[in-house]
Symmetry: C2
Subunit: 306 residues, 2 copies
């Protein structure tokens, strides 16, 4: 095979109690990408539609991630990439991670899968480094592995797949204001109280147990964040209203997606997810800020062939 | 039934990355207790063997826990309690919790089980409050539920049972120096860095996932504690030597049991647990401090009839 078209999923990182370690992949929103083998060495981004992004390899996350893989492989040729960028940059649902993850997954596929998913995550992390100065894995890991992933450790990189209950949906609202990941990290405090830490790891343990046991109620109870959400939510207009109304409409839990501004909920079943979307519309229409709403099943496959 | 004899298991709280939320029950070490219904109201501790402890109801954790249950029940009579105290107080393997948990479990059994396990934990926590000024649940929960338990939240109290891999053993060394729980809490810092918090909840997520998946390697990798262990281990003579030698002998992981001074390891299979015990003997014999070593399967039943 010399060319492949892939779907590169959007992702929700942090997931309330899993700051910097947990993430999940979405199904209904993501980029599309065509990757072609070329006899010439190197990587070329031939076309980007949907968003105005640089095609220069060293300025594009897909270029940087792809080059990292190419450097490690013994393949003689190169690749051409076309990106249909459907995830808006700065949305908080892993726009850069989708491009980084998609390109390395597609290249690996075209080369006969010489690299493991864990290695792909490491290559894609180089793209994340370009995007936000830090080589995070909490978006690229679920984009590549699919479902829920836990980054247990960075040194060495240790990624654990957590099972996804069959009826788990996410509803996400993206208020179109820009919050840069690097900015939203700066406002975090370097220290937290031990007491809040204990609540956070109690909740993360509960969330992981809930996912293993298909216990939707436990998943919902565990979606608490007393550390980051109180600080970052200030940057998101009407965060509290969206959260309160979504929970009232039946959402299992609600929090900030990644570093925001997107707000996610988890829901049991598509009907509940749609109810929550309606409530979000009603809440945000009067605000006067443009927004998108996505309803999606949790994507247990990650990047996939289109 | 008017009388019952029960085994009240020792427990390991914290379990490295699960400070204040995680605990597990042991099988090979615990108290024994006989509880009898009496026509007279109230509770009487008629006999304590093994340790020199007060029989006055308000000064004994079993008395306090038992009275709490009695207050909530509509039973007209009372109970007599005999305790064979085999767990040394101040050992860090839940000595007070075993008495508190055992007495409420036995009384509930004699009354026809009117109370849930969660309610029993709440009664037993009153005993813990007497013992250490704080109504902790991380020892009484595994003593009552058995296996591994996660205290996800205290308000409301939410206890999650985590499955136990079939070949999981613990080897515990109890150096006979006294460290009071209240003292060992005082040396902890009120604040931690966010970075260490992230590592801790990453590890707790990994440990819970490892227990669900019977992944002994993942359980081992996740048994890390960068927050409490570096501070408390200073109080325990030869902690580092015990830890390093146990890991070298094959233990999956090693840490402080509760607030110490006991040091626990988790092991895959009885042979490994025995190897680790031998290594502990070799390491501690020259130290000149008395010690006990316990080898135990994880007890998935909690308190049980003898």
């Amino acid at each position: 095979m010399d060319a492949i078209k892939v779907f590169c999923p959007a992702t929700i990182a942090n997931v309330s109690c899993g700051f910097d370690v947990l993430g999940l992949a979405l199904d209904a929103v993501g980029d599309e990408m065509i990757v072609r083998k070329t006899p010439e060495k190197g990587i070329k981004i031939t076309k980007i539609t949907g968003q105005d992004l640089p095609t220069a390899i060293n300025k594009n996350v897909a270029g940087v991630a792809g080059l990292t893989l190419l450097d490690k492989s013994d393949y003689d040729g190169g690749f051409e990439i076309e990106i249909d960028k459907r995830i808006k940059p700065g949305s908080g649902i892993g726009s850069s991670a989708a491009s980084s993850a998609g390109v390395v997954w597609a290249m690996n596929h075209l080369l006969g899968n010489p690299f493991s998913n864990l290695e792909l995550v490491q290559f894609a992390m180089e793209g994340e480094k370009l995007a936000s100065d830090v080589a995070h894995a909490d978006n690229v890991a679920p984009a590549i592995f699919g479902g829920f992933t836990l980054v247990r450790s960075y040194d060495p990189l240790d990624i654990i797949s957590i099972p996804t209950p069959a009826e788990l949906y996410a509803t996400v609202i993206h208020p179109q204001i820009e919050i840069k990941t690097s900015e939203s990290r700066k406002i975090l405090k370097t220290n937290i109280t031990l007491e809040k830490g204990i609540r956070q790891w109690g909740n993360l343990g509960g969330l992981v147990a809930g996912l293993f046991q298909n216990d939707y109620e436990l998943i919902g109870r565990s979606l608490e964040d007393h550390i980051v959400e109180p600080i970052r939510s200030i940057l998101i207009p009407e965060f509290d209203a969206i959260k309160n109304n979504s929970l009232e409409a039946g959402a299992l839990g609600c929090g900030i997606s990644g570093s925001g501004p997107s707000i996610f909920t988890l829901c049991k079943g598509e009907d509940m997810a749609k109810n929550v979307a309606q409530t979000m519309h009603k809440t945000y229409e009067p605000v006067g800020i443009d927004y998108d709403i996505h309803i999606s099943k949790v994507n247990t496959h990650g990047v996939k062939i289109r």
